[in-house]
Amino acid sequence: MLEALTGAVELGLLYALMALGVYITFRILDFPDLTVDGSYTTGGAVAAIMITHGYSPIIATLCAFVCGLAAGACTGLLHAKGKINGLLAGILMMIALYSINLRLMGRPNISLLRTDTLFSAISDNRAAFIPVLIAVVLAAKLLLDAFLHTDLGLALRATGDNARMIRSLGANTDTAKILGVSLSNGLVALSGALIAQEGGFADIASGVGTIVLGLASVIVGEAIFGFRTVFQATLAVVLGSVAYRLIYALALRIDLLDASDLKIMTALIVIAALVIPTVRRSMRQKALARRRTEELLGAAVRQGGRT
């Protein structure tokens, strides 16, 4: 049981980078970007192929990040300059990346089991694994926070928040969108590269459902931990990714569920996390409206009695 839980935390931390990427598009740019299903695989593919060809795992991981940036930039260009609907631009890139990934890999699955990866150094020492991952993920989170508070980062946030305003202040919202989608997919590919190295293989189908996993992390995190500031929101996304993995690990302990039920579990978690706050808010709003109306009515009646 404990092993299952530490495994869930490790995986949650590795997926947190991907979730931060999804947070950039989904929450900051208000752009549900499906490219991530492809770029996640791209990250794993680039890292695996370079490592098996003898490149250092660090270089391979960096290249995976850069390839993710490039893939995201393509989606951003399609959307911002080609004026293609955001969802469609993402789907087109996702499909295109499937072929590209298969070309890169040459076969549907590459094993990394007998090669050195980024994690080889700490693979004998599992106790050090989680602290190292926490440090890496926190560093990425803090860097992203800092970026989102620079002049450029503010313009990026405003592009999703009020594009008309930031254009009138002189920022090119097309460039901001391309930059944001690019950065997002860079992080997703980085996550894919790390998970391929941790798991010991890259697989052509590994990216399927990445967007839903990312959304689940973002939404679960926000629902549990809140998102008032950028600092808080990115922390919530990281913790949401871990929380999601823990929920999932616990769900798998139920005998009725198989590993293949992951997708529907994810869908149900996302649906619950989306629907419950909406229902709660509307109920609270209704109760508030009723109470205020009764108060005002009461006041009017009292006043009417006096005059």
Partner: protein, 264 residues
């Protein structure tokens, strides 16, 4: 300062809904001019604002600022010269970002945005000073989200964001129309004060006839995409609302029809 030279703009060209938005408009604003713009619905007032700011490009004609033709530049490339406040209080600020972050974005108006911190100590000091000029206590709420402000507070913030970096031209597009009378009066007096202090060349669309006469040094009236009346400072001071309405009927041949008009 600002010249519009024979500018025309057609909406939905070649369709049954084709509409003349601007027809051969000529307008020249001198530095420091404060021009109020009135006119019926669909007279072209907003289109005029839009072709100046770059939201739209004129089909033919030129827009010049300081002698340079800018009609082909996109909106973001013109913003260094043009500050703008919209009618909708939601439009001028980013609601999920704080007051100081909104000001930081305005602070970089028209400049390259890099990896420097958006809000640092010296900028924060400047923002606090500037906000205190508004006199509504926003300087104590630098970290508050703009979305939590009332409509009047947001328009005041938008007005500051549009002006404190000293662009050359200020465009006010009915920026008090969505506010209740008390807040509208506050924003109007802030506008007067800021324009007087910064000496910005200003173009203000309004539905309030009394305001159009009282504010500024020049008044233009638009109808069906044309400027039909241009009242200079000398005549404007003695102008009354009934005179203005009479003038409109005389020139356009119909009564001024504006469902939101406020006679003052």
């Amino acid at each position: 300062m600002l010249e519009i030279d024979h500018a025309s703009k057609l909406f939905n060209p070649g369709t049954p809904d084709e509409k003349v938005a601007l027809m051969n408009v000529r307008l020249k604003l001198n530095p420091g001019d404060f021009v109020t713009v009135i006119g019926s619905n669909g007279a072209g007032k907003s289109t005029l604002m839009n072709i100046i700011s770059g939201v739209m490009k004129p089909d033919i004609g030129e827009v010049r600022i300081g002698g340079n033709a800018i009609q082909e530049l996109p909106e973001h490339a013109r913003s260094r010269w043009i500050g703008r406040v919209f009618q909708d209080p939601m439009a001028g600020t980013a609601p999920t970002m704080s007051i100081e972050e909104n000001l930081a974005m305005a602070y970089r108006r028209g400049e390259k945005r890099g990896l420097g911190r958006g809000v640092n100590a010296s900028r924060r000091k400047l923002f606090r000073e500037q906000l205190s000029r508004l006199g509504i206590g926003l300087e104590e709420r630098l970290g508050a989200k703009a979305g939590l402000l009332s409509g009047g507070e947001r328009q005041a913030l938008s007005l500051l964001m549009a002006t404190f970096t000293q662009p050359r031209i200020l465009l006010l597009d009915e920026h008090t129309a969505a506010l209740d009378p008390a807040r509208a009066a506050l924003i109007t007096s802030l506008t007067e004060e800021i324009v007087r202090e910064t000496k910005l060349t200003t173009l203000m669309v309004t539905h309030n006839m009394e305001q159009a006469i009282r504010l500024g040094n020049r008044l233009i009236m638009m109808d069906k995409g044309r400027i039909i009346l241009d009242v200079p400072e000398s005549r404007k001071s003695s102008l009354t609302v009934p005179q203005l309405l009479g003038e409109f009927e005389r020139i356009s041949g119909s009564a001024l029809s504006d469902d939101r008009i406020v006679l003052g």
